[in-house]
C-alpha cells in the first residue's frame, strides 16, 4: 500500500467512524486540521484507532514506548505511515 493509499484509507475510516459515533465532521478535513477541532470526539478517536487496527493489523500507539498524541490529521497519518513501513520491512 502506498502512502497515498494509506492516507485515503484513514480518511475513509474517519468518515465511517464519525457516522457511527454520531459526530459531525468539519468540512473539509485537511492535513492541517487540528484533531480536537475536527468534530470527532475522544470516544470517536478510540473507534478510529480500533477500526484501523482491524483493517491494517496494527495499532502504532500501543507499540510506542511513550505516549504520543498527534495534534493534526497529517501528524496522525504520519504515525501510521511510519509503522506501516516498519511492518512492511518486517
Amino acid at each position: 500500500m502506498t502512502k497515498t493509499d494509506l492516507h485515503h484509507q484513514i480518511r475513509n475510516c474517519l468518515q465511517q467512524v464519525a457516522e457511527l459515533a454520531n459526530c459531525q465532521l468539519i468540512e473539509p478535513v485537511t492535513d492541517d486540521t487540528v484533531l480536537l477541532q475536527s468534530g470527532l470526539d475522544s470516544l470517536g478517536f478510540a473507534m478510529l484507532v480500533a477500526q484501523l487496527e482491524e483493517e491494517l493489523g496494527f495499532d502504532p500507539f500501543s507499540e510506542m514506548e511513550i505516549a504520543v498524541y498527534p495534534r493534526t490529521f497529517a501528524e496522525f497519518v504520519s504515525i501510521y505511515q511510519q509503522y506501516q513501513l516498519k511492518y512492511a520491512g518486517g
Partner: protein, 240 residues
C-alpha cells in the same frame, strides 16, 4: 449466531461456574487461563461452544497481542468478564513488595488492559458488556487482606468511571461483588472463622460460585440493558 463472552480466570472456581452458566444459556465462551484445567477440558467435551486460550495475565506486555489474537480468531466479543485474580493474604507489614506488585498487576492492571483492548471492538459494534468481579472486601475490612481490598476497590472505581465513558456507545460496565465463597482461593479460611461468617450471614450460609455467576448472567442479559456503573453484591446478606 452465539454471542461471544471472554472470561478470564476460567479454569476453576467462580470463572468455571460463569463459563458453565454462559454455555447453558447459549453464549459462546472463550476461556482464558494459565492452564487448561481438567474441569475446563471436561466442560469443553460437553460444550463445543467453549474455546480455550492459554494466557498468563501477569505478563501485562502480552495483553495487547492476546486481545488482537482473540478478535482475529473469534471476531468481536459481546462481553468481557474480568474474573482472574489472586488473593494472597498476610499482614501488610510483612508482605513482600514483589507480592504487592504482582497482586496489583494481576488484579488491577490486567483487567484494565483487557478492558481497554476488548472494549475497542465493542465500540465498533456499538454494544457490549464488561463485568468486573470485585469482592465485598472492596468495602468491608478484613484482617490480612488490605492489598487485595485495595485491588477490588480500584476495580469498582474503574468500573464506575468507565461506565460513564462508554455508555453512549451502548456498552455497560458493572461489578459483581461476591462474599466469601468456598473456592480454592478461600481454602485457607477454615474452622471457626468460616463458621462465624456463615453464622453471621442472614441466610445462614455462604454464597456459592453459582449464586455469583447468576448475577453475571443477569448483567449480560438484554433485561440488564439499563444497568451500568453499579455493583451487585452476592453475599447471602453478610454485609447487610
Amino acid at each position: 449466531m452465539r454471542k461471544l463472552v471472554v472470561v478470564s480466570g476460567a479454569s476453576r472456581g467462580l470463572g468455571l461456574a460463569i463459563c458453565r452458566q454462559l454455555l447453558q444459556t447459549g453464549y459462546a465462551v472463550l476461556a482464558l487461563a494459565r492452564t487448561h484445567s481438567q474441569d475446563l477440558q471436561q466442560l469443553q467435551q460437553q460444550q463445543p461452544a467453549l474455546h480455550f486460550m492459554a494466557a498468563d495475565l501477569a505478563e501485562l506486555a502480552e495483553i495487547p497481542a492476546l486481545c488482537s489474537r482473540i478478535v482475529k480468531a473469534f471476531g468481536r466479543p459481546y462481553a468481557l468478564i474480568n474474573n482472574a485474580a489472586v488473593g494472597y493474604d498476610g499482614v501488610l507489614a510483612t508482605m513482600h513488595n514483589s507480592e504487592i506488585g504482582s497482586l496489583l498487576n494481576i488484579n488491577v492492571q490486567a483487567p484494565i488492559l483487557l478492558s481497554k483492548y476488548l472494549l475497542r471492538p465493542m465500540l465498533l459494534n456499538q454494544s457490549g458488556r464488561i463485568v468486573n468481579i470485585s469482592s465485598i472486601i472492596a468495602r468491608t475490612g478484613f484482617n490480612g487482606l488490605s492489598v487485595y481490598a485495595a485491588s477490588k476497590a480500584a476495580l469498582e472505581g474503574f468500573s464506575k468511571s468507565l461506565a460513564r465513558e462508554v455508555g453512549k456507545a451502548g456498552i455497560t460496565v458493572n461489578c459483581v461483588a461476591p462474599g466469601y465463597m468456598q473456592t480454592e482461593m478461600t481454602s485457607s479460611l477454615q474452622g471457626d472463622k468460616l463458621e462465624s461468617i456463615k453464622r453471621r450471614s442472614p441466610l445462614g450460609r455462604l454464597a456459592t460460585p453459582d449464586d455469583a455467576a447468576a448475577a453475571v448472567l443477569y448483567l449480560l442479559s438484554e433485561q440488564a440493558g439499563a444497568v451500568t456503573g453499579t455493583v451487585i453484591t452476592v453475599d447471602a446478606g453478610s454485609t447487610a
